[in-house]
Symmetry: D4
Subunit: 252 residues, 8 copies
């Protein structure tokens, strides 16, 4: 029973098409159901959608394909939306065994299966990235946010070294309700974008770069120390995390 | 001419109480006005309120009291709201010379003067902090968010070592539209809070701690690596930044 | 002659079934025996069991399979318990040549052979881990602690993002004599667990995560800076070290 | 109602001197009492003694003397033992206003007031330190452990550069139930000590040193990477944390 | 005998106003003169102007005022230009004793005395800084470059958060022969500037900021990882070094 | 229309061979042309040559061979010079499909195609490297600078451990207009070279070394902290960046 | 002409078997010979043996096998001793082509060829290592020091966790003229050894360990911060450097 | 009884002026004497001179003046040489109370009292430093080495930016038996010096510098990664440690 199920049920009570006693029984039954399923190696958080608006998402690193498929099977079996991030091809093969309708997004390295009724976000989430090398992370954000019910506007390769590529799109950027900015190297793009808009900016540093980029640390520090206002930062290469935050905001 | 002025003017046009030609003249005059004032040592960004909803804020470190007072004088003279962060007592003395009505918030180390018409945020911003030592940063966030037009709910000293102090307040936390979580040491509080709410969580690490806390780095890393969803992070001790982000979201 | 041998011998003396002179001869002979065996590339510490309650353990990285097998052969030949940690399959092949009864624990990456009389720990050691990706480390701890004579209770995937999965097990956690908590990412779980129990908590950070987790540094710092009391920390991914410490405590 | 009160009450029930119904009323009343007191800037965790065997301890950095005195006043008023760590003289002046019987330990920088019935630990906790410069931290550990009911044996200035100063005390070290080793600079002492004893070793790195000691980081890393078994580590300069862990173990 | 002296002498030879033999004597005498003066605690490099175009400069940290004055006295006595950087007021007092005509630049923390014939640079060096807090460093660069014979154009407080303050000055920036960009916090300004000009950009990170700015490391890394071309970087807060590099280029 | 085209056109106007009106039309047409081409995954900055004197360069890491070939195709199609850095053999295969005349420089790991009229630099750029292991980076610098129109003098394996190898070449070094110094390990070479010349020195740290060289950090820090004047630094292994900076200077 | 050649020649002059004029001619010829050979990619320092007592050594990382063989060929051709460190099997194949008599030491990863007359060191160099995993580095030191004319005593696997393995060898250790101590993990062994001997101790940290050993940083810091006297440190895993230093001392 | 006493006693036996039995009694008495004195807060290592050739030295940081005076009193009372490093004026006042003849070296921040018969080192120790700001550390080394019986040659301010100041002194440098090189900033001087001499070079990094010198880390890394042979390194600012190592070598 997710939020949407609960709202429908209470609407039926209000409408008089469902008796309060029957509704009470249904809610109690859902509550009695364990809020997680214990697989031994994993405790699938079955109440997360109720609590946070989207079911548990599977991070595809550090787990075997079999473990991922087993967790996915439980989520899919409950009729919930499935998202596996950082998934290689072998994980997709395993997941397809339990969820044949799932899609693999190669650029984003993500597996998705849209199920259930996912509420739509209110406005557009614009995803800007600084360079072509940031695409993996930007696409992880895009695939995540789309599955969570948001409309996405992609604006790629607008790094500050040729700032006219960005400035020419000011109207487009200013019409977004939330902005995600993905950048590696010096990570300067979020500062410039945040100076142009009223929308909250979620900055996602990437590990793109070499030498003193230290696997994304330079970009991360740049974003944390931004002189612009209205920026908050997520982990290096965490396109998923940026999109989740943006989606929560866009659903307010 | 801030957003609110502009909206009133256009409403007058719609209402027929102002001629389009006159309105056009007024807008053009505002546009002709330089978008910044050049003081030599500073270029005050006079269009920031129009662009981002709140006038330029003065970071009170690295500048002399005289420089801060000069910048403050320009902002106050334009009828805009004044906020000076990280201000010591001597800065307040200097600012009072140009803005006698300004208030000094000692715990928050901030100077404020509410001026102009600041739009109200839609819901409540809850500010939670892990310990009493985090109060400086939490109060900087609170003072900032209040000046930006938000209703604040303070929930202090609810660190995870005695988690019942937090869990007993679940309803209060869940009724916030945005949550700011301020924590030093291991910085675990945002992860626990984010697991309980649908609201976006802005995590503010503090430099509270010693030894291997490395001036807030431990807390910062903890927050960036949170296993919970819907968290984004700002700089160490940046209560102002957390509040600005939260306010932008709360005004959506 | 390990502690248990020594206790039996002295018990025989007390019981009158062994003459003090004969006992004295046996002890002197054991003392004359070299306290280590010199293999040139290794000096096997044959007195470690007497001194510390468990024979020398072989760390399986940085040594060739042949070197490991040679050391293992000496330990096994003395009738002592064998433990090789961080062992790949090729090491197991080599060790099996000298210890055919040895077992390979794939998830834990450990080789064990229980031999001799290992004293039992007094209570239960509970091993909690935050996520499925932490299993390698948690199982290394479990296999180690079991070989050292302890009863283990496994509680896996109880990370703080869905804290109800942990809180529902409070009784189980509180009934342990020692608790090992294994966690990567932000490493917040030990703080929450330590706030719930009187038992000492051994925190084991793992290298699970990416980006700013810096190979487990974020989790390590989180644990070192815990605001909860009764936590001590071992090296990143050191399930073996956590279990050894817990076992020493559990044998008090 | 702390653990000791609860045990007495249940003993009375067993002994027949208290009616079950009356006992039940008393327990229920204690449960109804809030598990914390909310002072606005602090939520004093009044159930911590029940949960963890010792009341909340006040870390004396980052708080004003007035805040510390207010918290101390609540703890003392409940008849619980008081411990303030990292306390300067001005904090002591403030605390003395609310707890005139409190003692200031200058070397340990701690304020204590023994109250209530604190259970005794079973064996001796030996505290070894490497050099005279480590005394602040060693004494913080000693004062803490003594207040928590433990017998302490101090063994100071036994660093590895003159290892005979340590080896001559082997019997004394081996007779301890738990060992705390405090060391700065290279932090090698815990490795040597742990190689000599069966007791668990709690290693406390200190910030003693200069240059590449990086404020205790060198010692911390040395201890985390110890080649000896049975060592766990706490934060740099955290004598209090080491003592708390040791005391929990010594009370098992 | 500096470069300018040498050129005059050779010009006289060419012009026939000086006999080759006499010129040869003068050059040989200069060559016989020791290329440094040994003060015991310092070896003043008297040939540096000949080799590098500007005499030795005194870094005013880590030396006593007396040592600085003694070195300054030797430089001034040779008729060379004097520059002391990072000089506090007490250093100026000492230097004034040996060089009464020297000037103290408080904002730049520098002492200068123009002497001898310093060749003029060919174009203008533009010095841009991101914020008012960067002024100390920007002024150190300005004072240095002016003393070295360059025309300076100051453009202060043009940080990327209000990028219109910078873009409005494009013509001014593009007319410079060399650009020095001084910035703290995220250090993004050099990337944006370098994208707009053909001139080489010398980036000077400053320690302005707090928290994760790590004393200028964030800005330094941002500049080293710039996605723009034509940027090279000097040490944190090294306005002097940036100006020296710019001056060498401007004299080509 | 690059700078050279523009200059020719204006020369024709001056010469009277082109009517001002016709020239105006041509310039306006070029201005109407988009200053970038949007490929979706990339926005090729077609005005960069006009703005900065050399067309956009493709960094060959983090992009697929197909993406690189597509971008290269646009650049080559416009008649501009092509440079792809950090290119593996498979990238070269893909690029050859769209630019059959392109050359692969294996030691430099770069692809080049000289096209259009590239202005010549004024003097010689000397490239010195400390050891044979630095050749990849030194050659990347050499290939880049040559394509940008500069004359190169290579001076390899002149590290400071045998400083006579360097000192014997003083005349050669001093005759360069700009010097690039490439060095790994302790990165001392730029300091010694800068002490010998008047030319600006661009220091390029390399990741050559092991252990505490930390992937080039030791060399980078050495260069940033140089006690010599006239040094500026680029990112670790950034031969391209060093050459671009040197070329800009050499074209002044 | 190395030192030994020079000494023989001068002895012949003293003995009257060589005319001063003839000797002078021979020395002059050697001096006229270039002090290095320029291979383009390398400048072989042919005077290093004369200056430092041992010819140039080839570091086998970052160079191609062909480059290494070409340099080796020059050294061997001059009759000097050859040492290639960090050499893989393919490098040995290439070197064998130019120096068929060269030997490959697999454990030490070194290629050697003893040629010429290498003076003997005066005493014994003892090489101690903490564990079997440190053997690669210890053997690199041993092979280097032997080729440089020293007598070696190997004492392996004497880490501080079982300190009796070390203490039993005190006489052996104290009879060495120089001691090299190789250790990873916490790097405590040099401190203990230096406390027992008068001989200078060269400490070589290794990258043995995992997690917070950070590739040898923990051991390096431990050694730099040693509380014992008479220790100096070389780079992580630099067995060659430790042996060179020890050999220089042993030849005094 | 130090080494010198022991040698005299045995010489008397050899000479027949002392009966073996009497000698034996004297040695046995010395051996019965405790090898350390226990002051509670310190265990003074009274056998260190016998073991290592020089009595225990007192590091003057982290101890109170009273503690230092108490330890000094024991050393002086035994007729041994006294050395207190890092001593401020107040420590000197306290030490003078127990050792009126002690001298304070202000530049070196050291207290010395020469007592007993200290054996002379064989050759000269040359101490070179890069700049005037390194004098504190260079003098600490000089004072230490002189007290330990060595002849010192000081060569100050010979940094690599003006390398002729160093090269002109090659004969002087090459005539030293051991060389100590003290340098901050990029720490390049040891590499250049080691390339010129056969003597072992002890490199002492200093914290001189700012910004990315990171308190001496840049210099430390430069020295650890030196491309020259025959260098070993001690802790940042550890002039004492460098001198101790050099003295041990010079006494071989």
């Amino acid at each position: 029973m997710n939020t949407s199920d609960l709202q429908k049920l209470l609407a039926s009570v209000r409408a008089g098409t469902l008796e309060p006693a029957a509704a009470s029984d249904q809610i109690a039954a859902a509550m009695r159901a364990a809020p997680f399923e214990d697989l031994g190696f994993a405790r699938v958080d079955t109440h997360r959608e109720l609590r946070q608006g989207f079911p548990e998402v599977i991070l595809g690193i550090g787990k075997t394909p079999a473990q991922i498929a087993a967790i996915a099977s439980r989520i899919v079996g409950r009729g919930q939306a499935l998202l596996v991030t950082r998934a290689q091809q072998d994980v997709y093969e395993a997941v397809r065994g339990v969820a044949p309708a799932a899609t693999y997004h190669a650029e984003a390295r993500a597996i998705t299966l849209a199920q259930g009724e996912i509420p739509r976000g209110r406005g557009t989430i614009l995803i800007a990235c600084a360079g072509t090398s940031d695409l993996h992370v930007a696409e992880e954000a895009a695939v995540t946010a789309e599955l969570m019910g948001n409309t996405i506007d992609r604006l790629y390769d607008v790094g500050v070294a040729g700032i006219h590529r960005l400035l020419v799109e000011q109207n487009r950027i200013q019409s977004a309700r939330v902005v995600i900015v993905v950048a590696g190297m010096e990570g300067a793009l979020p500062s410039v974008v945040a100076g142009l808009v009223k929308a909250p900016v979620i900055a996602v540093p990437t590990s793109v770069g070499y030498g003193a980029s230290f696997g994304g640390v330079a970009a991360l520090l740049g974003m944390l120390n931004s002189c612009a206002n209205g920026i908050a930062v997520v982990n290096i290469d965490n396109g998923f995390g940026g999109a989740t935050m943006a989606s929560l905001i866009n659903h307010l």
